[in-house]
C-alpha cells in the first residue's frame, strides 16, 4: 500500500500524485542538528551522559547522508569537541559529555563549514557531595579588634556550592584572644554558604580555621596593633638607693596588649616621691623607651608615666627606697660635734664638724670605723670655717675606702698650710658654731644597716701647729649613720 505523500517538487506548485511501488522515502535538506541526552535532569556534576547528535532535516528526520564535522560546545567551558560524521554514522553520532558545573548547561553543536547548521540542548546538573569547606572574603590584614566578616561555603569536589549542606561549622583561631562566633549549623536557606565574623586581637600572622569535624579550611590574617591605649612599666627594681639613678622601661601597648611599635610619645613622668627627679625621657623605638628616676625619699615609692594627649597612664613600683639617716650624737657638751646639715637628704648626707665652744687649732680630722659597702664619700668641703686649708692644693680630704689599710674607715681631715698657696703661720681661733669642714656622703647600698656608730671606737683630734693634740677623741661627739 502506497502512502500519499506530498512532495514539494517545484516551488510554487503543489502537486499530489500517487506513488508507485518504486517510490522510496527520502530525507530532505539538512536544517541542523538535534541533540538528545541519555539524561537531562539531575545530572550529578562529573557524571557523564551520552549525547546523541543527529543531523536532521526540516521534518526532524535524520539526514543519514550527512558527512561533516560538527563542533560540540557547552557554556560551562571554552573547550570544544569535534564530531566527525562519516558515512557509517548515518547522520547520527554519540558522544560522552560531562560537566563540573552545577546548574543548567547548554550544549550546542554546529557544523564547522556551515554555521547555519546548529543544534542545542539544555542539561540540568546538580552539585556533588560536600568535599571541602572554603573561607572567602576574610581580609588578609587587619588591625587588632577589627570585625572581620567572611563566608564559609561547602563545596563539592568540583568546587560547586553544596546547596543542601547542613553541617555544623565551628570557627577557631590560634589567636587565643580572638573573639569568635558560635558554631553554626547550615540550613537549606544557606544554600551551602554562611557568613561568619571574627575579631582578632593579637598582632602577627593569625590563622582562622573553620571545620565541621570532617571538612575544614583556614586562612591567615596579618594582624597589626591598634593605637596606644596603655603603658606597661618594667625593669624597675624593687629596691633602690636614694640618689642613685634607677632605670626602667616603658612599653606602649594597644587595648589588647599589642606592642605599638610606632608609638612616639611624648610622656610625662611623675612619682609619689615629691623629691624624685627624672632623666630626660628616652625616645620611643619600636614602642619602647628607656626612662630613669632618681628617688630621694625613703619609703615605698612609685613612678607614674602618662600620655598627655590620650590620657592613659601607668604606675610602676612600688620601689623600696633606702637612704642615709643620721642620728645626732646623744653626748652633749663635747667641743667638736659631727652633725648633719639641714640640707641633708636620704641621698646626700652633709656631715659637719661643728665647734661647741671656744678653742684654737691648726688641723682636725677623724677616722671612724664605717661600712664602706653602704656609703661613699662624695666630697669634702671647707666652707669658709676657721681652719683655712689653702689652695693648690687645699689641705683637706676625705675617704671611705673598701680596701687597704683604712678599709671600712671614714677618714677625713683638714689642715692649714704652713707654706704654699694660702699659708697660715699659726693656730686659728675657733668659736662656738664654727664649722671646721663638712663631708658629703651618699648611700651605696639598699641594704638597711649601720654605716657607723659614734658609740664605737674612733680616732679624732684637733691639733695645733706643732702637732700637739688640743682636742682628742673624748672631745668629739659622733652620731649614728644608718641605711634605712
Amino acid at each position: 500500500m502506497n502512502r500519499l505523500i506530498a512532495i514539494l517538487c517545484t516551488a510554487g506548485t503543489l502537486v499530489f500524485a500517487g506513488c508507485s511501488s518504486s517510490d522510496k522515502t527520502a530525507t530532505g535538506t539538512m536544517i541542523g542538528f538535534r541533540i538528545t541526552s541519555s539524561q537531562v535532569e539531575a545530572i550529578v556534576v562529573g557524571s557523564p551522559v551520552t549525547l546523541t547528535v543527529a543531523a536532521i532535516d526540516a521534518s526532524g528526520s535524520v539526514v543519514t547522508a550527512y558527512q561533516g564535522t560538527a563542533q560540540l560546545a557547552s557554556d560551562d567551558t571554552a573547550a570544544t569537541v569535534d564530531l566527525v560524521f562519516g558515512a557509517a554514522d548515518g547522520g547520527s553520532k554519540n558522544t560522552q559529555f560531562a560537566t563540573d558545573v552545577a546548574g543548567t548547561i547548554t550544549v550546542s553543536v554546529k557544523d564547522k563549514t556551515n554555521a547555519n547548521l546548529t543544534g542545542l540542548i539544555s542539561l540540568h546538573t546538580k552539585n556533588g557531595a560536600a568535599t571541602k569547606l572554603q573561607i572567602k572574603g576574610l581580609a588578609s590584614s587587619a588591625s587588632a579588634g577589627d570585625a572581620l566578616p567572611f563566608a564559609v561555603t561547602a563545596l563539592d569536589a568540583k568546587g560547586n556550592a553544596v546547596r543542601d549542606y547542613t553541617g555544623q561549622v565551628t570557627v577557631t583561631s590560634d589567636d587565643a584572644a580572638a573573639v569568635l562566633p558560635a558554631a553554626y549549623t547550615y540550613v537549606s536557606a544557606d544554600s551551602g554558604s554562611h557568613t561568619f565574623g571574627v575579631a582578632l586581637a593579637t598582632s602577627g600572622t593569625r590563622t582562622v580555621t573553620v571545620s565541621d569535624g570532617t571538612l575544614s579550611d583556614h586562612a591567615s590574617v596579618t594582624v597589626s596593633h591598634g593605637s596606644a591605649a596603655q603603658f606597661v612599666i618594667d625593669q624597675l627594681a624593687s629596691e633602690a638607693i636614694a640618689g642613685a639613678s634607677q632605670g626602667f622601661r616603658v612599653t606602649a601597648r594597644d587595648r589588647f596588649g599589642n606592642l605599638v611599635t610606632n608609638h612616639a610619645g611624648p610622656v610625662t613622668l611623675g612619682s609619689t616621691d615629691p623629691a624624685a627627679s627624672f632623666g630626660a625621657p628616652g625616645a620611643f623605638s619600636g614602642g619602647q623607651a628607656s626612662m630613669s628616676v632618681t628617688f630621694a625619699t625613703i619609703g615605698a615609692q612609685t613612678v607614674l608615666v602618662s600620655d598627655p594627649s590620650a590620657g592613659f597612664s601607668a604606675e610602676g613600683g612600688p620601689v623600696a627606697v633606702h637612704g642615709l639617716v643620721y642620728t645626732p650624737p646623744a653626748t652633749s657638751g663635747r667641743m667638736l660635734q659631727i652633725v648633719a646639715d639641714t640640707s641633708s637628704t636620704a641621698a646626700l648626707l652633709v656631715l659637719k664638724v661643728v665647734a661647741a665652744g671656744t678653742t684654737s687649732g691648726y688641723s682636725a680630722g677623724f677616722n671612724i670605723p664605717a661600712d664602706a659597702t653602704r656609703a661613699r664619700v662624695v666630697d669634702v668641703a671647707w666652707g669658709g670655717g676657721p681652719l683655712n686649708p689653702g689652695s693648690s692644693p687645699s689641705a683637706i680630704a676625705a675617704a671611705l675606702p673598701g680596701t687597704g689599710p683604712l678599709h671600712d674607715t671614714l677618714t677625713s681631715g683638714i689642715s692649714q698650710k704652713a707654706g704654699g698657696s694660702g699659708a697660715v703661720a699659726g693656730d686659728s681661733a675657733i668659736v662656738a658654731n664654727n664649722v671646721l669642714y663638712s663631708v658629703r656622703l651618699a648611700p651605696t647600698s639598699a641594704s638597711p644597716g649601720v654605716v657607723f656608730d659614734g658609740a664605737d671606737r674612733f680616732r679624732a683630734a684637733l691639733r695645733d701647729h706643732e702637732g700637739n693634740e688640743v682636742l682628742s677623741q673624748a672631745d668629739f661627739a659622733v652620731g649614728k649613720l644608718e641605711i634605712q
Binding site: 691648726y362 688641723s363 682636725a364 680630722g365 677623724f366 677616722n367 686649708p389 689653702g390 693648690s392 692644693p393 689641705a395 683637706i396 680630704a397 676625705a398 675617704a399 671611705l400 675606702p401 687597704g404 689599710p405 683604712l406 674607715t409 677618714t411 677625713s412 681631715g413 683638714i414 689642715s415 692649714q416 698650710k417 704652713a418 707654706g419 704654699g420 698657696s421 699659708a423 683630734a461 691639733r463 701647729h465 706643732e466 702637732g467
Partner: protein, 290 residues
C-alpha cells in the same frame, strides 16, 4: 740596766694591725737576759694567757781569732719589728717572738777578766733565744770598742735596719743593720748616754746623759735620700694625721730649724723641700697605702 718592752707589729698571727702583745726584756748581771711576752692587756683576738719569763744563755761574743768572750754584764735589749729582718724565724705567736733580739753590754772585760776584743764589741744579736750570739758592732764596723748602755731599733724603720746605740761617747747609729756605724748628730758632747726615747714614728729622739742632761734631736730632718711615702706616723696608711703633719711643715727643708720641721718621710719627691707638690702627692694617696 734597762727593762724594756716592745710592741711588735700586730700583723703577727692576725690580719689586724692592732697591737696585741708586749715583749719584755730584762738585762741581768752575769751577761744574760730574761725575756717574756704578755698579751693580757688586749684580748681582742688572741687567746689570753699568762706570761712567764724565759732566760737566755749568757752572752758570748762571737767567735773570732781569740775565741769566745763571755760578757760579765749586760745593759739593754730590744726586739725588731720582724725577726726575719735579722735572719730569725718567721714570727709565730707567742714564743717565736722571743727568739730574735739585740742586746748591748757595758762590760769592760769578760768573765775571765780579759779585755773585750775589737772584733767582738758590745752589741750582739741572737735568733735562737740567746743560745748563740753574733756581734753586730765590731770596731771594724765603725763602732768604737766602748761600753754601750742602750741599744734600740728605730721605731720609724720598719725594715729594722736602723739601730741606735747609746755609748760612753754619744749616740751611734747604723742604717744597715750593723754593717757600718757612725756617730750621730752635731753638737753633742762626748758623754755617756744612759737612755734613749723615741717618738713612735722615730722622728724625735731624746737621750739622757751622764751629767749633761737631756738632749733631743729630730732624726727625720735629714735630707731625704729617697722619695718619702707621705706616711708621717708610719702606720701604713695615709690619713688626717699625715695630712696635718705635711701641711704644717710646708716650706721646710732639712736645714730648717723651726718646729715642726722637715721630715724626709713627707718629702715625696726627695727634693729636700716640703711643698705643695708633696702635699698633692699625699692627697692623692689619702685613705690608702703610703
Amino acid at each position: 740596766m734597762d727593762v724594756h718592752h716592745h710592741l711588735p707589729d700586730g700583723a703577727v698571727g692576725s690580719t689586724d694591725r692592732t697591737i696585741k702583745s708586749r715583749l719584755y726584756g730584762v738585762p741581768l748581771s752575769g751577761g744574760w737576759f730574761y725575756v717574756g711576752v704578755e698579751n693580757s692587756f688586749d684580748t681582742n683576738s688572741w687567746v689570753q694567757q699568762p706570761w712567764s719569763w724565759t732566760s737566755s744563755q749568757t752572752v758570748l761574743g762571737s767567735t773570732g781569732t781569740g775565741g769566745l768572750q763571755q760578757m760579765s754584764s749586760t745593759s739593754s735589749i730590744d726586739f725588731p719589728h720582724d725577726p726575719t729582718h735579722l735572719g730569725g724565724a718567721a714570727p709565730v705567736f707567742p714564743t717565736d717572738l722571743l727568739k730574735t733580739y739585740i742586746v748591748s753590754s757595758v762590760t769592760p772585760v769578760d768573765l775571765f777578766n780579759q779585755l773585750i776584743r775589737d772584733d767582738v764589741g758590745r752589741i750582739f744579736k741572737t735568733t735562737n733565744s740567746g743560745t748563740t750570739w753574733t756581734s753586730i758592732a765590731p770596731v771594724s764596723s765603725g763602732m768604737p770598742n766602748i761600753p754601750v748602755s742602750i741599744v734600740r731599733f728605730d721605731p720609724g724603720d720598719a725594715t729594722d735596719q736602723t739601730i741606735w746605740a747609746g755609748t760612753d761617747i754619744g749616740v751611734y747609729v747604723t742604717f744597715n743593720g750593723g754593717t757600718s756605724w757612725e756617730r750621730y748628730g752635731n753638737g753633742f758632747p762626748m758623754v755617756r748616754v744612759t737612755d734613749m726615747s723615741f717618738a713612735r714614728n722615730g722622728s724625735l729622739l731624746r737621750v739622757a746623759t751622764y751629767g749633761r742632761g737631756i738632749w733631743e734631736i729630730y732624726p727625720h730632718q735629714r735630707a731625704a735620700t729617697a722619695a718619702g711615702s707621705g706616711d708621717w706616723d708610719l702606720n701604713g696608711a695615709i690619713d688626717f694625721i699625715d695630712l696635718a703633719a705635711a701641711a704644717s711643715r710646708l716650706g721646710k727643708t732639712s736645714a730648717s730649724t723651726a718646729q715642726p720641721g722637715y721630715d724626709y718621710n713627707l718629702d715625696t719627691d726627695a727634693s729636700d723641700s716640703l711643698d705643695d707638690a708633696d702635699l698633692t702627692a699625699l692627697l692623692a694617696k689619702y685613705g690608702s697605702t703610703p
